[in-house]
Symmetry: C2
Subunit: 425 residues, 2 copies
C-alpha cells in the first residue's frame, strides 16, 4: 500500500461532470489499496472571474482581501470533489490550506511555505478517508490571516504535502499526456518524455516550458519528491521527474540522453546599454540600477570592447512587464552611468536546449549553431549552463528554430502527438 | 461614539455596484464617528447556485462538505466588501465565522451558536478598522470543522455579534423599508411600523412575516439587543424592535397599539385524524407518532366529541414538506391508534393578528370573527396566545381575509406603500 498525492488543476475540475470524472479516478486509486491525498485547484475560470469581480469593485484591491476572495475558489472545488467521492461510497474530507497545516509567510498573493503540519490530513488517512486539500492557499501564524502561494501554487501545495507526508509519489494531473520534448503545438513530432531528472526539468521550466511550475519542481527536488506528470483524461503513464542519485521508484535507471527537450518563450525583452565606458565596476553600477526596479534579469551578454574607443555594449533580457520600469530607471541615471544610448527590443524569443547528457558530451553548442545557421536563423545572444544552451533570436524565427533544433538533436517522433486545447495549466 | 452592527443580506450585495453602494453606506456610518461591525450574506443567488452545483455532483451531499461549499459564498462577498471600503479610504478587515469567534455546535446545516469570542473583531475596531464578518457561518471546536447556521443565519450572526460586543444597536438592512403591518404586496395600504416589541415581532415572525428571522429575534430578545430593520436603498429610518421594559435607546416609549400587524402564510398543510376514540391518552399517542417524524407541529385543534359515537377528530398543521412523512407514520400505526380516517389538506392558509395591546383589550377575537364573517370567509381552525389570534382559512381566501382584517383593525395607511421586488430576504 502506497501513499499517493494527486494534484488536479482547474481544467480537470471545470464543471460538475469533470469533478465526477476526477472523483472516479481518485476512488479507483483508493480502491486499489492506496492512501490518497488530493490537492485541487479552483474550478476552470473561477479565479479569473473572482479577479474580475474584485476589479469591478475597486481598482487596487487590498492584498489580504484578495487572498480571502480567491481562496473561495478552491473551497468550492474541494467541497464538491469530496462530496462527489463520498457519493461514490468512499470516505472523503476536504481541508482548507489552513486546516491542512500549510503554514506560510504573510506575503499575500505570493506567500512562501515555511512549514507543513498536516495533522488533520494524517488523521483523515488513519480513518481510511481520502483527504482533499485546497491547493494554492495557506495560513500565516503571526497574523492569523489566509494567504495564497501565487498562480500555479497548487502544484507546490501537492509537492509540499507529498514531502511532509513522505508520500511515495506525487502525481500531477493535467490536460496533456506529460512533459514533451517541446511544445507539440509548435513541433507536431514532439515526443512525450518518459523520464526526466529534476535538474533538466528545472532548466526546461525556467526556460518557458509551462507544464510544471518551476517553484514546485524546486520544492520537489529539495525534498526528494518523485513527480509523475500525467493526463487526467487518458489514464496513460506520463512523465516521471526524478532524482538520478536516488533512482526511480519503478523501472530501470536509464542513461541520460544528451538532449532531453527544448523550451522557448517570447515574453522577454532585450535591453541594450550601448557605448558604456569599459572601466572596472561599470557593469556593477548598471545592474545596481536595474536591481532597484526588482526586475527579473535573465540573460546577460557583454560585447568585447572595441579597442579603439574603449567603449562596450551590455545587453540583458527581462520579462516584458518589467521592461518599461528598467528603461526609465536607466534613463534617470544616464549621467552617472555615462552610456551612449539605450535600446529596447521586445521582438525577441529565447530558445533553450536542455539535456543532462550534455555534461559528458562535447560539440552540443557547435551542433546547435550549425543547425540554426543552416536554417538561416541569426543568433543574437547566447548563454549556457552545465546542462543547457540558450539563444536569443528574432521572435519571427522562433518556431522555425525550435523545429530545426528538434530535428537536429534527433528528438522527432515517428508520428505526430495528439495535441489538446489546453496548456497544462 | 456608538458601536453599530450592520447586517446586509444577499440582495443588498448582489453585484459589484450594490457592493459599492453598501460600502459607501458603511463608510458613512464610520465617518460619522461610529465603530462599525458588518455581517454580510453571500451575493444574490450564490447560495442557490452552489446548492445546484452540489446537486449536479451527487444526489445527497455530505453535510460537512455542503457547509464547506456554502461558506465560500460569504467569503466572496465579505472580501469584496472589505476591499471596496478600503478603496474608499477606510480601514476594513474581513473575517470568516471562525476568525470572528462564532463558536457553534457541530450540527452541519443548522448549527447553534454556543459562544461568541470576537477577539479579532475587537482588535480590528481598536485599530480603527471596520470589521466585515461572514454571516451564516461558524466553527465547531470539537471537530475543528466549519458549520453553517442554516438559512437566514446572517441575521443571527449580526445579533450574536451585537450581543457579544455590547453594541448600541444592530441594524438589519434589507430591501424593504422596515416591518409592515402586513405584506404590502397583498395589502397596498399596509403601513410601516415605527416601533414593535420583541414579543410582537416574535409572534409575527413565527406566523409567517419574512422580514426578520424568528431565531434572530429570539436571540436579540434574550440578549437585549435593540434591532433596527431598515432599507439599504432609502436611508430612511425603519422599524425599531425593542424590549418595552428596557425602553427605547432613542425616542419616547409609546403605548402599545391593540393590533400591531397581521402575518400570514400558506406553506402549511392540515392533517385531520378523524374518528378517534375519545379516551384519555389517545391524543398523546397520536402526537408521539408525529413527534418521531421530527415534523414541526403548529396549530392543534380537537373537536368536541360527538356524544352518541364517543369519537372525536383531531386536526393539526405541519409545514408542507413534513406532511407526507407524518401521513405515512400515522398510516403505519393505524391499527394501534384505532382512528377512522386520515385527511390531508394543503389548500389552507394561516392568518395571525398580533398586538401587545390585546392583553389589556377585550373583544379582539369577536371583532376578528365578525370581520371575516362579513367578508364571507369561513374559519377552519383557531388558536390564540396572549398577544395573537391565528385562524386557518381556505388558501383562496387568504388575501381577501388579510385585507378585511387590516381594515377592520384600523391598520390601513392613508396612501399606498412603495412595493419593492424583493421580500426582505
Amino acid at each position: 500500500m502506497a501513499l499517493i498525492v494527486q494534484k488536479f488543476g482547474g481544467s480537470s475540475v471545470a464543471d460538475a461532470e469533470s469533478i465526477k470524472r476526477v472523483a472516479k479516478r481518485i476512488s479507483e486509486t483508493r480502491r486499489a489499496g492506496n492512501d490518497v491525498v488530493v490537492a485541487v485547484s479552483a474550478m476552470g475560470d473561477t479565479t479569473d472571474e473572482l479577479l474580475e469581480l474584485a476589479d469591478e469593485v475597486t481598482p487596487i484591491p487590498a492584498p489580504r482581501e484578495l487572498d480571502m476572495l480567491l481562496t473561495a475558489g478552491e473551497r468550492i472545488s474541494m467541497a464538491l470533489l469530496a462530496m462527489a467521492i463520498k457519493g461514490m461510497g468512499f470516505e472523503a474530507l476536504s481541508f482548507t490550506g489552513s486546516q491542512a497545516g500549510m503554514i506560510t509567510t504573510a506575503d499575500h498573493g505570493s506567500a512562501k511555505i515555511v512549514d507543513v503540519t498536516p495533522k488533520r490530513v494524517r488523521e483523515a488517512l488513519d480513518q481510511g478517508a481520502i483527504a482533499i486539500v485546497a491547493g494554492f492557499q495557506g495560513f500565516n501564524r503571526g497574523t492569523g490571516d489566509i494567504t495564497t502561494l501565487g498562480r500555479g501554487g497548487s502544484d507546490t501545495t501537492a509537492v509540499a504535502l507529498a514531502a511532509a507526508l513522505d508520500a511515495d509519489v506525487c502525481e500531477i494531473y493535467t490536460d496533456v499526456d506529460g512533459v514533451f520534448t517541446t511544445d507539440p503545438r509548435v513541433v507536431p513530432l514532439a515526443r512525450k518524455i518518459d523520464r526526466i531528472t529534476f535538474e533538466e526539468m528545472l532548466e526546461l521550466a525556467a526556460s518557458g516550458a509551462k507544464v510544471l511550475h518551476l517553484r514546485a519542481v524546486e520544492y520537489a527536488r529539495r525534498h526528494g519528491v518523485e513527480l509523475h506528470v500525467r493526463s487526467s483524461f487518458s489514464g496513460e503513464p506520463g512523465t516521471v521527474v526524478y532524482d538520478p542519485e536516488k533512482g526511480l521508484s519503478e523501472g530501470e535507471h536509464m542513461e541520460e540522453p544528451i538532449i532531453t527537450g527544448i523550451a522557448f518563450e517570447k515574453s522577454e525583452a532585450k535591453i541594450t546599454v550601448a557605448g558604456v565606458p569599459d572601466v572596472p565596476g561599470k557593469a556593477a553600477q548598471i545592474f545596481e540600477v536595474v536591481a532597484k526596479t526588482n526586475a527579473n534579469i535573465d540573460m546577460i551578454v557583454q560585447n568585447v570592447s572595441a579597442a579603439d574607443t574603449n567603449l562596450t555594449d551590455i545587453s540583458f533580457t527581462v520579462p516584458m512587464g518589467d521592461g518599461r520600469r528598467v528603461v526609465e530607471a536607466l534613463e534617470a541615471e544616464r549621467e552617472a552611468l555615462a552610456y551612449g544610448s539605450l535600446q529596447y527590443d521586445d521582438q525577441i524569443a529565447k530558445i533553450a536546449v536542455v539535456g543532462g547528457g550534455m555534461r559528458d558530451a562535447s560539440g552540443v553548442s557547435a551542433q546547435l549553431f550549425r543547425a540554426l545557421y543552416e536554417a538561416g536563423i541569426n543568433i543574437e545572444m547566447i548563454s549556457t549552463s552545465e546542462i543547457r544552451v540558450s539563444v536569443v533570436t528574432r521572435v519571427d524565427h522562433m518556431e522555425k528554430a525550435v523545429r530545426a533544433l528538434h530535428t537536429a538533436f534527433g528528438l522527432d517522433a515517428e508520428a505526430e502527438a495528439t495535441v489538446y486545447a489546453g496548456t497544462g495549466r
